[in-house]
């Protein structure tokens, strides 16, 4: 029994870690942080100068606020986030049994609002959803990403991987063309990173606000003049899932700062 289980686990590890040509080997992976200027790094490193921390504080307040017709706060079910939420963001997107598909952390928060708080869903990219997800993900800062370990997700990770490899848009470029094959080079003035998802939601100086991973992916799609998927679309969730499993083992940085 134990023997067979060990083989099954080994086989799983082998299939999920088999790299396609051009994919980055685990020990060569680098966070976007390592591509930044010393000034921007310093801004991320110091909580008193990291603008993302204001959202984390707002998220903490929302965590304790009773909402919806159930008149319950997140804290009424989950208690102290410092212990109950540690490591949670590091395994998202996660498989939802009822829906039979992966959901992102933002979607999980809205499922909790609908099912347990009887509250309306928070719009994507609005202040409150960003604040709550920054607060939850911040509890995983320094925790190694484990997304993709769940065997029920394999088909969805594969879907995300093929979307990552697929050329699209009028410029006919795939994510892999920039983020696997050309990181460390420059697109006009901007350094191209490996596109690791370790810091989200994060504060982008160019946006002058916090933004989600989906916002980032949608801007890369618009950049190649492709029709970006809508927020929450299964394709964006699959891409997010692939990116997180591609970063498995890397530490979470939320809230990161990026140029």
């Amino acid at each position: 029994m134990i023997f067979w289980r060990a083989i099954a686990v080994a086989a799983l590890a082998a299939t999920t870690s088999a790299l396609l040509a051009g994919e980055i080997p685990p020990d060569a992976r680098r966070s976007g942080y390592s591509f930044m200027s010393p000034d921007t790094r310093a801004m991320q490193d110091d909580d008193t100068s990291n603008p993302g921390m204001l959202f984390v504080l707002d998220g903490e307040a929302l965590w304790g606020r009773k909402v919806g017709s159930a008149d319950k706060a997140c804290a009424d079910c989950h208690g102290d986030a410092r212990s109950s939420m540690k490591g949670v963001a590091a395994r998202y997107p996660a498989f939802d049994r009822t829906l039979g598909r992966p959901v992102t952390l933002d979607q999980r928060i809205n499922l909790c609002r609908a099912n347990h708080q009887q509250a309306s869903s928070l719009p994507y990219e609005g202040h409150d959803i960003l604040a709550l997800s920054a607060f939850v993900a911040h509890q995983s800062r320094g925790v190694a990403i484990t997304t993709g370990d769940d065997p029920q997700l394999i088909a969805f990770v594969e879907q995300g991987r093929s979307l990552f490899m697929q050329r699209e848009g009028q410029l006919n470029l795939a994510c892999t063309n920039c983020h696997d094959d050309n990181f460390d080079k420059h697109l006009a003035g901007s350094p191209i990173t490996q596109g690791q998802p370790t810091g989200y939601p994060l504060y982008r100086l160019e946006w002058q606000t916090l933004g989600s991973l989906e916002r980032r992916l949608r801007s890369c799609m618009t950049g190649v003049r492709a029709q970006a998927y809508e927020y929450g679309a299964p394709e964006l969730v699959a891409l997010e899932l692939y990116l997180m499993s591609r970063a498995r083992g890397m530490p979470m940085e939320t809230p990161a700062v990026r140029p």
Binding site: Q166, R167, E168, G169, Q170, L171, N172, L173, N177, D181, N182, K185, H186, L187, A188, G189, S190, I192, M221, T222, R225, A226, Q227, A228
Partner: protein, 149 residues
Amino acid sequence: MARSTITIAVLFASVVHVANARADGLARYEITGDGIATSLTGAPGDAVRGRTLALARTTTCILCHSGPFPEARFQGDLAPDLTGAGNRWTASQLRLRLVDASRFNPDTIMPSYYRNEGLVRVGRNFAEKPILSATEIEDIVAFLATLRD
């Protein structure tokens, strides 16, 4: 026998090409050897306008390339420096490179600037349009041809 089959295949391919070109609104062109020998517009391009275009954000050239453009602060390094491109390539080769760089290297990341089909999920604002017009291609070709060391 074998040779005449190939000739027929090539002829057939170019006929199909011309037919497509009519249907989708792009100027017709003929590939001879590794280039397109004649201007897409029938007229020579304007090298001065071509320089402005090559440097414009909208044409995307210097997102990837650098070149002898001292006034452009942000130039890319995903692709060869364009300095001396006019020594390395004829106008005919440059024209085909802009129209469809994948003819030179099937895995290239350089977009095909005069193509409007066979692409995936093109954004609504760009659907069914080539990246550049025939006139813009001719202007940029004329400019690149002047880049001699």
